[in-house]
Amino acid sequence: MFATSTQRSFWMFKDENDVSNARLSANIKYISSRGRNMTAEERELHFLNVTEEKILIMSYEYQLRDFCRKFLPPMPRYVIGTALHYLKRFYVNNSVMDYPPKEILVTCVYLACKVEEFNVSMDQFVGNLKGDREKAASIILNNELLLMQQLDYQLTVHNPFRPLEGLMIDMKTRFPTFSDPERLRSGIDEFLEQVFYTDAILIYSPSQISLAAIIHSASTSKENVDEYITKILFSEDQKRLLNLIEAVKKIRVMVRNVQTPHRDVIKALEKKLQLCCNPDNNSESPAFKKRMKQSFDDEESFEDGQYPDANTDQVRSMLMGMSEMGKI
């Protein structure tokens, strides 16, 4: 149930400002840790700011959608929904520069398949990816634990699809004057697709989102379902009706403001990202590979019960210092 879920207790925000603040703090944290020696203008030039990050994330969400659409065997929509949820949650807490979004993207999809019990073996999964399959498999497996950790191991996600079905059934049974709610389906599906690119899923409950979808679809086809809502759903609780109307309005506004980012903008941002990203987490960089190798070699020389705790941090700071010198 959504009412008792961790999604409600830990992953909900008050409004869009709240979400932006969280992203801002992640962004600031990253910039301050990496750009200690730069002035404010240099930082502005070198690093991505919050709006740019947001645009990048949106483009990656589109990529995720496309990847899932072409996925074989065909992926049900709730898996896609869960994967998008994970991606959003991850980048609320972390900056885009810190962890490469491409890797996190595939890891989100893989994890979502597992959690939503859509059984795909690793071989099948990487078969849908282009490029080196083994490398992709190792990337996914390396990032899986990181992703789970950043999600606080709270993996159950409530999507709007089941509440939608419930509302449909209810409408057909209790509101027979509205003939054939199935006509609204295509509008609803479109709305729900768009809503996943907004932050509405982090602010409103899934049943509110699905109700907004129904209302939106009804209004686009010039129908009116208000009677259903006022008389049947909220017949006993008139005051809450206002709250719901407010919520539905806001959701619709958010969906209306969704803008697909322009391809050139994306390309420029990606280039900038390449420069300012964290080389330790980017599996392409030589620094990362060296660190991995070093941690492997170190592991063998441990005596029982004497694992050094600050070793990798020392290495990382050493490498960071080296890479900073190399860049400028």
């Binding site: 909900m12 603040n21 079905e165 059934i169 409103y204 049943s207 509110q208």
Partner: protein
Amino acid sequence: MDGNDQTCPKCKTTKYRNPAMILMVNACGHALCESCVELIFAKGSGACPECKCALRRQNFRIQLFEDPAVDKEVDIRKRILKEFNKRQEDFSTLREYNDYLEEVENIIFNLVFDVDSTNTNKMIDNYKKENKDITMKNRNRQSQEEIELEELLEAEKAQQSEKANSYVNAELEEKKQKHKAREKLIDELMFSDADAKSIVASHVQATAALAKEQPKAAAQAGGPVVKSSKFSSGIQIGLRQNTSSFLPIPKQQDLPLFHYSAPVFDYNGPSPPAIEVLGKLKYFANIRAANATERAGGYTEALSCCRALQEAMGGLFYIPQSGHKTAVAASAEETDDMETA
């Protein structure tokens, strides 16, 4: 590792051919088959073929474990624990007891692997000197416990043998009685003038009556004689120092009886219809009907219908609030940042 494949390191061949060969293990932990042992001691030289340490015939024990190293360790352990036999009651804190145990293990380890044996032996001797009296006391205590156990065992055995005896006795008695009865019959037939048939009939009745009485008598006399644990003056027989008497079970207060209250669920939305009334309210017309295999497995349309409705209704009253951890911290950070920048 199959026992038959073990080779005696000295004569090597003999073990293969003779699966009944027994390996003996010596104090330094190496194994030798019986015939080799006899060979070595017949010649009079007492050196282990592998490590050349001096051996005595007595130090050879039949190997219990496949790995002779284990046997060696078991031996050393027995020896050490005879000296180091303190118990938890002898220590004031658990930590001390654990430290003591660790010390003991260290000593055993050192002796088994011949690490630092001179120091270890010194430590053992020191310990022996310091703790002689405690060790003695513990040994006595142990032996007392053993005595008690033995007594219990003996009492059990005595009980059993008595039972057996009583059964045997009962059988003998029966036989005697039968014999007597038959003789009586014959006497009566010989000497009395009454009709033969009536004598036999009365005799049969008598034996039947006797047969009924037998089991009763056996039950009375068959109970084993209980060994008296007290002298007539009240003094208890035998050393009974720690009679196991359990503490009386503490009386439980009368708690309030369990009362079932059904859980109340807050949907945070309009309440959906209960699962039982869904059929009446004609919800099933709008849901896919369950096919035969699904119904056989226990699935009904009510289940998925109810779930969908619950999820649809649940959360409709939800008012956005901030539950996310960084959201709370972010507002604090932002004010800080705005001050510094």
